[in-house]
């Protein structure tokens, strides 16, 4: 060992050269931390342990040696963050103990933090950009690995007792902590003032790192479910970034994928569709796994807007694994069986689990059911609506219409079909035949708070107290003056609840009428069917009007085009017509239009607007 020349000197010499050359890539190449480390690094570690064993003295000695690395400026501010970073790098190599991955994580994070500080320097910062990216990736990998395998550090957390600390403090996961550090680096890149900054600018200086850092940060934020934290990032990008088109394809596609997913989860489906379609169109055709993930969001985005994936699309290799899930979904929307649709997306269904893992279950469930109802109404209209009198081309004939009663009849029939199917399968989801409380169309068990209210018996005060005692007889209460009073155990604050109990006060839906329970049953469902139709009409997914007294859906102005196309317009066309005028996508900086001032980069035209109507050649 003693015969070998000191490797640290050699190493520091190499670093100094790269600093002098401002060669960030080579600098990063020297600053390895991820195992397995080569022989030379093992020697370096040995030497550090011998010559600079842990302790304040050797740390300050190390720092002194690192300070010699940076060029001295006359009186100007020098790049002090870098020597400190280098010292941390050496102590990291020397001290890291991967038996404790939590410590490793924290040391690595501190190292990255210091490197980000070094990145902040307006002159020299850009030299460490590749190192920041490299360290960020290693940190992200470690954080996400530990997130997936929490048992690797559970014993450490237990030992340190940090798992049962103050409940009132929000726990920040390792992944989120990493995202926060990476975001700092992103901001340093975005706010670099070198050359021409802003949307007119080009990726120069640290700005080349904007989307590299943003993409890594977004990956981490998606992993830890803190999408909301991305909002500020997208806003800053919109305000300050050069156009995305100036960046390499890999960065563009990755960014548009995350942006599209973000917009999708914010219910901005049209901008999401544009971003995801562009990501798909620009993605390398051999990058099957990335294309697959993009499609997993592009397809539901289109379905929600009324456009289904074609057979051709679903036969592409990247659609493998998506086909059956989405085909079945589309089939159910077309069929119009809302109960089958709900069952397909209910917690017990394997498909729902898949949709949930993708983070799209609730969006699909909430946004697509209305289309199922449209199909259902359409079919009922086809079979039992009045389609207008073809003979009476004269002006006098009534417009086509559908009695809503037919819809209620069809709904009850659908419910009975499913009940029978359930019984014959030996499944009993405890779907009551009928109940006065809650929805008439949702065959799910009654909310426990409304359980037992269907009975004719009015609950006794004792029963109420047992059930709602915490409310009726709490430990204390505030009086009109806002003063707190302790309450005797079991004393009813508002007197005896049974005394003026009125069964109907608890019924949020309807009141019993003199027509008798059969008619009431019918009117409850009718109310709900009317609401559903009103919603369809408001959204423009059906066209016409409702009459309430003699409940009908009427389709005026159908003489030319016919009742069906008039009353049930094409969903995609309807939504697209509403959205197409604004094709701006928040978070996506596009080149200024030709002719706009300072169009220096206008020579390179990249077609980024992936969203064009189908069929337009």
């Amino acid at each position: 060992m003693a015969s070998q020349p000191p490797i640290l000197d050699e190493f520091l010499g190499g670093i100094a050269v790269q600093i002098q050359n401002r060669d960030g890539a080579k600098l990063q190449d020297l600053l390895q931390i991820e195992p397995p480390l080569s022989e030379a690094y093992q020697r370096l570690i040995q030497e550090l342990r011998q010559r600079y064993p842990p302790g304040p003295q050797s740390d300050s000695d190390l720092l002194q040696r690192c300070e010699a690395l940076i060029p001295r400026t006359k009186g100007g501010s020098s790049w002090t963050a870098f020597p400190t970073f280098m010292k941390l790098y050496f102590t990291f190599l020397r001290d890291v103990n991967t038996d404790n991955l939590l410590d490793t994580y924290n040391q690595l994070k501190a190292l990255l933090n210091q490197c980000v500080l070094a990145l902040g320097d307006s002159q020299m910062g850009v030299v460490v950009l590749p190192t920041v990216l490299y360290l960020s990736k290693v940190l992200a990998k470690l954080a996400m690995g530990l997130d997936r395998r929490p048992e690797l550090i559970a014993h450490i957390l237990r030992m340190e007792g940090s798992m049962d600390n103050d409940e009132s403090i929000e726990k920040v996961t390792l992944v989120e902590q990493s995202a926060n550090v990476v975001r700092e680096a992103f901001i340093k890149c975005l706010t670099d003032r070198t050359g021409t900054p802003g949307p007119q600018g080009k990726p120069e200086g640290k700005r080349v790192g904007i989307y590299l850092m943003a993409n890594l940060c977004l990956k981490l934020l998606f992993q830890c479910g803190k999408l909301r934290n991305a909002e500020q990032m997208f806003a800053s990008i919109t305000a300050q970034s050069p156009p995305l088109a100036h960046f390499p394809a890999s960065q563009r596609v990755t960014y548009l994928y995350y942006l599209g997913r973000y917009l999708f989860s914010n219910n901005l489906f049209y901008p999401a569709l544009i971003a995801l379609q562009a990501a798909y169109d620009q993605c390398h055709r051999q990058a099957i796994s990335q294309r697959h993930l993009i499609l997993a969001y592009l397809i539901p985005c289109n379905i929600i807007m009324g456009r289904f994936p074609s057979r051709k699309l679903l036969q592409r290799p990247e659609a493998n694994g998506l086909t059956d899930k989405f085909e079945q979904l589309c089939r159910l929307i077309v069929r119009g069986d809302y109960i089958a649709f709900r069952e397909y997306l209910s917690p017990s269904s394997p498909a729902a689990e898949w949709f949930a893992r993708k983070g799209i279950l609730l969006t699909i469930r909430n946004r697509c059911e209305i289309m199922v109802w449209r199909s259902f109404c359409r079919k009922v209209f086809i079979h039992s609506g009045f389609h207008g009198d073809p003979q009476a081309q004269a002006q006098r004939g009534p417009p086509p219409y559908l009695y809503l009663e037919k819809l209620t009849v069809a709904t009850r029939w659908l419910q009975s079909q499913h009940r029978q199917a359930q019984l014959s399968n030996g499944v009993n989801h405890a779907t009551p035949d009928f109940h006065f409380y809650g929805s008439q169309v949702i065959p799910e068990p009654i909310d426990p708070d409304f359980k037992g209210l269907d009975g004719s018996e009015i609950p006794t005060a004792q029963q109420l107290l047992e059930k709602f005692g915490d409310y009726l007889a709490p430990d204390g209460f505030f009086d009109e003056g806002g003063h707190w009073h302790e309450n005797m155990p079991g004393r009813l604050i508002d007197g005896n609840p049974g005394a003026d109990y009125d069964a109907f006060e608890l019924d949020p839906y309807a009141e019993a009428t003199e027509d008798g329970p059969e008619a009431d049953k019918q009117s409850l469902l009718m109310d709900e069917v009317e609401s559903i139709l009103a919603s369809l009409l408001t959204q423009g997914l059906m066209r016409g009007y409702l009459t309430h007294r003699n409940p009908r859906f009427a389709i005026p102005g159908a003489r030319v085009r016919g009742a069906l196309p008039t009353g049930f317009p094409n969903i995609w066309e309807t939504i697209f017509a509403r959205e197409k005028d604004d094709d701006s996508v928040p978070g996506w900086v596009r080149p200024p239009p030709p002719g706009a001032l300072g169009a220096a980069g206008g020579g390179r035209v990249v077609n980024l607007s992936g969203a064009r109507p189908v069929g337009v050649q």
Partner: protein
Amino acid sequence: MSNSTQTQTKADASEQPQQQQKPQVLEEDDEFEDFPVEDWPQEEAEQNGSAANGGNEHLWEESWDDDDAAEDFSKQLREELKKVEASH
């Protein structure tokens, strides 16, 4: 150092069998991987080197309303509605 390699390799290795159990190869990971190359021309993004960017192929169905009266659900629904009409 080498410990961490082992641990991480272990972590990767233990994920592998789970993935293999699943029938679809593409289902294994929801992580958007880094691309092996940084940049590529638009031609390499297009399917089968087609001229325009995928817009030529018919990827989306806009008209999917079902007018097939012979389809099971429609048939049953029609019969049921007929029954009710007759009873009125």
